[in-house]
Symmetry: C2
DNA sequence: GCTGAGTATTCTGAATACAAAATTCCGACG
DNA sequence: CGTCGGAATTTTGTATTCAGAATACTCAGC
C-alpha cells in the first residue's frame, strides 16, 4: 500500500482552491500571507509556493511589493477564456476514443434530459454541469490537454455561478447538452463539436452584460 | 519614468528559461537547489519559487522528497502538445484582426520565401520560425491565449531542435508557411487555418521516429 | 476640519536555520 | 566479487528571522 505523501504546498493549493470554489474569498481581495498561513496552520513558505502556483494558473495575481490578491473578475477575462476552453474541449472531443463515445453518448443524453427536469441548488447545478463535461471528455487520452482544461475551467468557474442563477440559462444549457449527445449518437462528430463550441460561447453576451451591470 | 522592479523569482525564472533554451540543462537532469542557487547568486527561497512556476508551466517536474528535475522529453509529450498548440494557434489566427492580417500577409509571404533560400544555423532557424509565427499571430488581442501559447511553445521548443537538423524539414516548413500566407492573401481564412494546423502536425510522425531512435 | 510631514506599525521579499528524508559511502559478510 | 546493513553526508521541505518597502497613524500647521 503506497502511503500518499504530498508536499505541503500541494495540500495548501488544494485547500485554497476548494475555499475559492466555496466562495470564501471575494474576487479582488488581497491576501494577507501571515493571516492565511495562520488559519491553515502552516508557515508562510509553503503558502507562498502554493500562491505562486495559483498565480501561474491565473487564479491569483501579484504586484511587486504589494503581495498577492485573488484575481478580480472582468468581462475581458471571461471573453478571452471562453473561446480557449471551447477550442480545447472541441479538440478533446475530436481526439476522443470512438468506442468510448458510442458507449457513453446514451448516458450523456439521459443525464442532459434528466438535468432539464430537476430543480437543484446552484452548487448542484455547477457540479452536474462539470460532471457532464467530464463524462463527455472522459475518452480523451491527452493528459496534458485534460490538465490544461482543468486549470482553465477553474478560472472560468468563478464566472459560471454569476451566470446560472437564471432559470432560462439552465434549460438552455440542458438543451445544448442534448444536442451534443444526439449528434454523437447520430455519428455526426462535426455537429457535436460545433454544438460543444456553441455551448461555451452562448453565455458570453449575457455574462458581459451582467458583469457590466455589477460594475466590475 | 517608472523604474522597473521585478521580484527575484521572475528574474530567476527568466534566467533558467534562457539557459534551458541554450541547452545548458540536459532534459531529465535533476536539479540541486543549493548548487543552482549558488551559481545564480541567490538563496534557495526565490529559486524554489521560480522552479515551482516552471513546474506548473510544464518544463520542470518534481517528486516529493526527491526535489525537482528538468522534464524529460518523450514522444508522448510531443504528441500531446502539438495538437493543443495547433488548435490554439488556429484559434488565435481565426480571432485575429482582419486589417492586421491583410497588412501583414505580404511580409509573411516574403519572409517565408526568403527563409527557404537562406542557409542558417540551427539557432537562427528556430528564431526565424518563432518570429514568423509571432508576426502571423500579432493581430490576436486575446492576451490570455497568447500567454498560454507562449508557455506551451516553451515546452515544445525542446523538441524542435531535434527536428530541424534535417534540410528537408526546413524547406517543408518554408513551403507550409508560404501556403498559409498565400491563403490569407487570397482571403481564404479556412484554408489558412487548416494550413496552420498542418504546419504543426506535419512533423509529428518523424519526431516520434527520431525520439524512438534516440531511445528516449 | 483638512492636509501633510514624520513616525510607528505591518507586511512582503529574501535569506538563513533546522528537522527529516534520501543518498552515498564503507566495511562486514556470504 | 557482489551485496547487505548502517553510519555519515547531502538534500529537500518547512519554519524562522531579517531588511526594507508599504501602509497606517499622529499631530502640527493652516
Amino acid at each position: 500500500m503506497p502511503i500518499e505523501r504530498r508536499p505541503l504546498r500541494d495540500q495548501i493549493k488544494r485547500e485554497v482552491l476548494t475555499r475559492l470554489r466555496r466562495g470564501d474569498f471575494p474576487a479582488g481581495q488581497n491576501i494577507n500571507e501571515g493571516q492565511l498561513a495562520g488559519e491553515l496552520g502552516v508557515s508562510r513558505t509553503p503558502l507562498r509556493e502554493a500562491l505562486i502556483a495559483l498565480e501561474i494558473e491565473g487564479l491569483i495575481e501579484s504586484q511587486p511589493g504589494k503581495g498577492f490578491r485573488f484575481a478580480p473578475v472582468s468581462p475581458k477575462e471571461y471573453q478571452e477564456l471562453c473561446p480557449v476552453v471551447a477550442a480545447l474541449e472541441a479538440l478533446a472531443l475530436e481526439s476522443s476514443d470512438a468506442g468510448y463515445l458510442a458507449e457513453t453518448a446514451p448516458r450523456l443524453l439521459a443525464l442532459a434530459t434528466e438535468f432539464d427536469a430537476s430543480v437543484a441548488t446552484q452548487a448542484e447545478i455547477e457540479q452536474r454541469d462539470d460532471e457532464w463535461h467530464e463524462l463527455l471528455l472522459g475518452g480523451c487520452r491527452n493528459e496534458r490537454l485534460m490538465d490544461l482544461l482543468t486549470t482553465l475551467k477553474a478560472s472560468l468557474r468563478r464566472y459560471v455561478h454569476l451566470l446560472i442563477d437564471d432559470e432560462t440559462e439552465i434549460s438552455r444549457s440542458a438543451s445544448e447538452h442534448r444536442l451534443i449527445a444526439e449528434s454523437i449518437i447520430a455519428g455526426d462528430m462535426a455537429a457535436a463539436v460545433s454544438a460543444l463550441k456553441a455551448n461555451w460561447t452562448s453565455g458570453t453576451e449575457r455574462m458581459v452584460e451582467k458583469l457590466g451591470d455589477a460594475g466590475v
